[in-house]
Symmetry: C2
Subunit: 118 residues, 2 copies
């Protein structure tokens, strides 16, 4: 499967999307689309470490596996969305980007990519 084509399609469809990458739980990228050269490697490492921490600590509420994580700061919204338990898509939006569309496209990508990555 052409992972890059799927990533490019998501980036095109979500208003305000700046960069997107398909990564393993080790934070290493399989493929990325990053026209603005954002520092994806550092972000990938940070976000995957948060998810690993959450999967250990979420037993309190018995919440189940983490599906999506979104962090909004003054300038950006960063999404981390699971594809399988081992692979995630990280996407960065401008603060005024289309948040709901981002969630939708990332859930849709999961369905498209999960068989290939299992």
């Amino acid at each position: 499967m052409n992972f890059r084509a799927v990533l490019e399609e998501i980036l095109d469809r979500v208003e305000g999307a700046q960069a997107i990458t398909l990564i393993g739980l080790d934070g290493i990228a399989i493929d990325s689309v990053n026209p603005g050269r954002l520092p994806l490697e550092g972000l990938s490492a940070e976000f995957t470490s948060i998810v690993k921490g959450l999967n250990v600590s979420n037993t309190e509420l018995e919440t189940g596996e983490v599906q999506q994580l979104a962090i909004a700061t003054d300038r950006f919204v960063t999404f981390l969305s699971s594809v399988t338990s081992e692979y995630f898509i990280l996407m960065i939006l401008s603060a005024d980007g289309n948040y709901g569309r981002a969630r939708f496209e990332l859930l849709r990508a999961k369905t498209r990519l999960q068989d290939e990555l299992s």
Copy 2:
């Protein structure tokens, strides 16, 4: 100001909202509305520690302060939304709750509460 009345109003307005609490960055609650007796104390401690970690590490992208953090798992969506740099609202939604409305009401609450908490 009656913090509890503001929290109750948000809980009423957001479809699927299960519990809400106003907490300091130390994870200690000022007030809570928690009819289903969810384990808010443990969650507050976990989420505030994530935010403290992020505020240190987000220098890579120069993102600015964390405004909202949302974590969706199989069963719940948990929001942590800043009021000031020291106080946050934590809200728990069922997985099929109204995510967009939650974001909106939490941003609105910030405007209403921030003067009181500064």
